[in-house]
């Protein structure tokens, strides 16, 4: 498996007529790279991730995964199904059981041997005991684990995490971290989080996003955790 690369050129997105949330953003993510994106609230992190996954259509510029735009017809659909997205929203139907939710997404992704794949992904997140319970009855941490199982069900080559640790307790966060480090090897991964420690532990390239532009971008080998934390705090404290 070669992994997937992602290229964004001159990316821009606006929701209101005159306000760009992101503008003139260039980013290249190499196969198997693990990128951590940090920044204050409203910096455009979630927007960037939703553009990557094809949930948002760019207002300006292009985004390509393995050289293909996620909006280009059948090819684009194939590319979109090689992506996984974990958000702080679970995207799960509370009325349906864990198994029904995963089965629906499995079918929509056109996965063969769904049953074994579902069991495997539930084992990965340690939720096999709860698969016949409605999602609405599970705790927030459990729901987040199911969301993780949902987004890795189709074995995506590029996984995008949008603040996956929101609302998790320390124990659940540790499990998440372990899963990211060991369970998702050989994948391209992009993660945003406010938890700098968690972010630095699971990624090897660190980006700080500020007001819709990349303010800082460095490889983990080129810096130390302390230096990066210092830079991060400097940039954060400089924002109004």
């Amino acid at each position: 498996m070669d992994g997937t690369n992602l290229t964004a050129i001159n990316l821009g997105k606006k929701f209101h007529q005159h306000q760009f949330v992101l503008r003139h953003l260039d980013l290249h993510v190499k196969p198997n790279q693990r990128v951590g994106i940090f920044g204050p609230n409203g910096a455009g992190k979630t927007t960037l991730l939703k553009l990557m996954t094809g949930l948002f259509r760019p207002t300006e510029g292009t985004i390509e995964i393995d050289g293909i735009s996620p909006f280009s017809g059948a090819e684009g659909a194939r590319i979109r199904s090689s992506l996984g997205f974990v958000s702080h929203q679970t995207y799960l139907y509370n009325e349906m059981t864990v198994l029904e939710n995963l089965d629906l997404h499995g079918k929509l992704h056109g996965i063969k041997e769904r049953r074994t794949r579902i069991i495997t992904s539930l084992e990965n997140v340690g939720m096999t005991d709860h698969m016949n319970r409605p999602v609405g009855q599970l705790s927030r941490g459990m729901q987040q684990r199911i969301a993780l199982a949902r987004s890795t069900l189709h074995e995506p080559e590029l996984i995008v995490f949008d603040e996956p640790d929101t609302g998790l307790d320390d124990f659940a966060r540790e499990k998440l971290q372990g899963f990211m480090q060991t369970g998702l090897s050989e994948r391209t991964m992009i993660i945003t989080t406010h938890n700098l420690e968690l972010g630095m532990a699971v990624t090897d390239r660190w980006i700080i996003l500020l007001n819709g532009v990349i303010a800082y971008d460095i490889d983990s080998v080129a810096t130390t955790n302390e230096d990066f934390s210092y830079t991060y705090k400097q940039i954060m404290s400089s924002t109004p």
């Binding site: 606006k14 929701f15 209101h16 007529q17 005159h18 306000q19 760009f20 503008r23 003139h24 207002t59 007001n211 819709g212």
Partner: protein
């Protein structure tokens, strides 16, 4: 950061220029001539008297309303296919203009109907269709103001602009059949244009043309204004970025 300044606004700018001045002069002249012909030149209609002169205002206003909504329809399609903001600006300007002219046409019609038919409003096919047209574009403007400005609003209102316009002939057909299959109200709905004296017809045509030119002038002015607003707001958010 240099390229973030307002000079890089992608849309083509209309400068307050020749087209605006020409249409301004043309519409002033045409409207003056039109009203002279409508009020003085055209002979008094035997049956309806002075009230008939409202027609030189009523029909052109409704015609411009319908034309404005045709423009909304076309520019909505244009926006969906090209995603160029200029189409959206034209659509929203034209929708506003259409509502204003249609309101005028409906009110003028009511003022005419009171002395002639003895009622202010008749839900005949034309009356109903006009009212539905008016409602559709009032709701169009409401949608825009509720969702706020942005690409999503432009797409949603383009869809509404298309569906609303396609709906108009359906409303007309449905109301006409409704009346033919139900007892019709005992009022004459025909304008009996066949027996119109030539002077009347001429005055009518001049008014029609004058209103159309006036619409063109207002549109140019309105689109220009909208582009200035766009520039101001882009500049503002650019300043915010610094």
């Amino acid at each position: 950061m240099k390229d973030l300044t307002i000079n890089s606004t992608p849309q083509k700018q209309y400068r307050p220029g020749t087209s605006l001045v020409i249409t301004a002069i043309a519409s002033t002249v045409a409207l003056s001539v039109g009203f002279y012909m409508a009020l003085i030149y055209a002979p008094e209609e035997a049956l309806q008297g002075g009230a008939q002169r409202i027609f030189y205002l009523h029909v052109p206003a409704l015609w411009v309303g319908a034309l404005a909504f045709l423009v909304v329809f076309i520019s909505s399609l244009g926006y969906l296919f090209s995603r160029n903001t200029i189409w959206d600006i034209i659509a929203r300007s034209s929708a506003e203009m259409g509502v204003i002219f249609l309101t005028l046409g409906i009110v003028a019609g009511a003022i005419w109907a009171r002395p002639i038919w003895g009622i202010w409003y008749s839900f005949d096919p034309r009356g109903t269709t006009t009212l539905v047209l008016w409602l559709t574009y009032v709701s169009y403007i409401m949608l825009r103001s509720i969702v706020g400005s942005g690409p999503r609003t432009s797409r949603l209102s383009a869809f509404l602009g298309i569906v609303g316009f396609i709906n108009v002939p359906l409303v007309f057909m449905a109301t006409r059949w409704w009346r033919t299959l139900h007892p019709a109200p005992t009022i004459v709905t025909s304008d009996s244009e066949s027996g119109m004296p030539q002077e009347m017809f001429l005055a009518f045509l001049v008014c029609l043309g004058a209103f159309t030119i006036f619409y063109a002038f207002l549109m140019i002015y309105r689109v220009q204004l909208e582009q200035i607003v766009e520039r101001v707001q882009t500049a503002r958010s650019t300043l915010g970025l610094f």
